[in-house]
């Protein structure tokens, strides 16, 4: 009996929390299919009396280039991730397995870099980009994040435990260091690479600060920035369309999470940092 009571209590707490967690999602989804008059009715209902989803999504998509925002998000996140991996993996391998002059200094700099929040260098970077005339470009949105000291740190820890004997054997077979990295060591590091990729995409897909600073052209907006423009526009008072727009902006990453749930959670655990 006492077990039953405590079980009920546990679920009551968890369900109460879950309602709070889901509240804006549920509100967003139901508002996206309601006509304007029904959204703020005194009694909340999940399903509208009059289904208005087509109209809301249509006016959201025709007023703001929402699909363009998603494409921009894809381009920016993809570009950042590819360069991050290309730069960080060889560096991490060198720090883990190769003796070269300056290695201790470089590793200290990586540790120092881990301590610097991205907002700190943003002001000088903005001035430099303004002087170079590259504000309002994809490059300016991606460039500050090309180097991920965290990726270097994470991959270095991973590579360190890779057996030296295998690397030595490959060298004796005449395999070059470049191939050792990309064809022998990297395939063994997939868990770390996948984990970091998830971390990187989530962070940059949802980042508002930097795109807000360097982008003034609506066409280049990433999903969060696009959402901000969208809410500020005249559509801001068309709540159904706004909710439909928010749904479109939020959907890709949330759906990706629901599909690849295990990888997401394992990835966040492994990278364990924000």
């Amino acid at each position: 009996m006492r077990r039953l009571v405590s079980l009920a209590l546990v679920h009551a707490v968890l369900i109460g929390g879950a309602v709070f967690m889901l509240l804006p999602f549920v509100f967003m989804l139901t508002s996206a299919i309601k006509p304007p008059g029904e959204i703020f009715e005194a009694t909340f209902r999940l399903w509208p009396r009059q289904f208005y989803g087509w109209q809301n999504f249509e006016s959201a998509l025709s007023t703001a280039p929402l699909l363009r925002f998603l494409l921009n998000g894809l381009i920016v996140c993809g570009g950042i991730l590819v360069v991050q991996l290309l730069v960080a993996i060889p560096c991490a391998y060198a720090l883990a397995k190769l003796k070269f002059p300056g290695r201790p200094i470089l590793f200290s700099l990586v540790l120092l870099g881990l301590c610097i929040p991205v907002q700190a260098p943003s002001l000088p970077l903005y001035i430099a980009f303004a002087e170079l005339g590259i504000l309002n470009t994809y490059l300016s949105m991606m460039m500050p994040f090309f180097l991920s000291v965290f990726a270097i740190f994470l991959f270095r820890q991973f590579f360190k435990s890779y057996p030296d004997e295998i690397i030595q054997a490959a060298r004796l077979d005449g395999v070059g260091e470049f191939e050792i990295v990309w064809r022998i060591v990297v395939p063994s590091a997939w868990p770390a690479i996948a984990a970091f990729s998830i971390f990187s995409v989530v962070a940059h897909w949802n980042d508002l600060y930097w795109p807000l600073i360097v982008v003034s052209d609506t066409k280049l907006a990433t999903p969060p920035l696009g959402m901000m423009y969208f809410a500020d526009s005249e559509l801001g008072s068309n709540y159904g369309a706004l909710a439909a727009g928010a749904t479109i902006i939020t959907a890709p990453l949330v759906i990706a999470f629901l599909i690849a749930r295990r990888h997401f959670l394992a990835g966040i655990t492994m990278t364990g940092i924000k």
Binding site: V10, F100, Q119, P121, G174, P224, I249, F257, G272
Partner: protein, 309 residues
């Protein structure tokens, strides 16, 4: 580098050790060079420039500037907006850190014991982490609307008075903090769940034999001490995240009402990128950096000891 390395074959008469050392040096430097160059360009040089700027009166587009010593720092100390921003940021941090850590710890412990419903709760609590905060902030804005919002309607139904969560100066930071916690709990929960599953079962059995089978005893004697390192890490990362509050302020309140939700990063954004007071914004960034640096160093220190794959 590849070609150099490829020449090293077992057939070489010379002992490979000496040559190997050269190969490693070349390859090492070559592999590290792109990262090092980017590190200088995107981190070290900007930080040096930041420090330099803070002692000048540079404004974007100005042809000329001069050194003003500590004038910017003095101005920041006197600036009521900056004072409010710092106080508000600290208040926000003071709510989000204990809330974000303790709630996620509680949720993690409760979820950890579930068998069939565990993954369902995991998904629900983690959902806000993956969602785009700006879109969800807009929905929170509707939900919190003083007259039409669902939350106020529910409160009214329960007999409470209408509450203007976002336009009442005393409530705006706590409200933003609640949204901050909403976004953060799932992330911290996953870290705690990982920590919980690393606790060996026999520890609990040992405590049971000692006669301390009450859940609170088990928590105090096993769970809490074993979760120490995770708790420390989660607390420190939560501190850093909380200090960076920007998105919800930028989209929901813009520092209002009457400056009640001005925060440090938003002040930097306005001074630097809206008014183009570059040198002053550089000074404020150094203040922001000073606040976060302690926790960043702590985080790196813990991370270095914790990561051992």
């Amino acid at each position: 580098m590849t070609t150099v390395a490829a020449q090293v074959t077992p057939l070489d008469a010379a002992p490979p050790a000496g040559r190997q050392r050269w190969v490693e040096r070349f390859a090492g430097l070559g592999f590290a060079a792109p990262a090092f160059i980017l590190l200088v360009l995107t981190n070290l040089a900007p930080l040096a420039a930041l420090a330099f700027l803070s002692f000048t009166n540079y404004e974007l587009g100005a042809l000329d500037f001069s050194f003003v010593g500590f004038k910017n720092f003095g101005a920041a100390l006197q600036d009521p907006v900056i004072r409010r921003s710092v106080t508000n940021t600290l208040l926000y941090v003071a709510i989000v850190v204990p809330g974000g850590v303790l709630i996620s710890l509680l949720v993690a412990i409760l979820i950890h014991q579930r068998k069939r419903t565990r993954s369902l709760y995991e998904v629900i609590y983690f959902l806000p982490v993956t969602s785009t905060l700006i879109a969800m902030a807009t929905m929170w804005q509707f939900l919190l609307h003083p007259t039409l919002g669902l939350i106020n309607q529910a409160l009214k139904g329960l007999g409470f008075a209408e509450t203007a969560f976002l336009s009442e100066p005393r409530l705006v930071i706590p409200t933003l903090a609640a949204i901050g916690i909403w976004q953060l709990v799932g992330f911290n929960m996953v870290l705690f769940l990982a920590g919980l599953s690393a606790i060996p079962r026999d520890l609990y059995e040992a405590v049971d034999i000692d006669g301390a089978s009450h859940p609170i005893d088990r928590f105090l004697k096993v769970t809490w001490p074993m979760l120490g390192p995770t708790t420390m890490f989660v607390t420190v990362t939560t501190f850093i995240t909380a200090f960076k509050i920007f998105d919800t302020v930028a989209v929901m309140t813009r520092g209002g009402p009457g400056g009640a939700s001005e925060v440090l990063l938003y002040a930097i954004y306005l001074e630097g990128f809206q008014y183009f007071h570059m040198s002053y914004a550089a000074t404020l960034t150094l203040v922001f950096l000073a606040f976060t640096l302690v926790f960043s160093v702590l985080q790196t220190f813990i991370l270095d000891r914790r990561v051992h794959y």
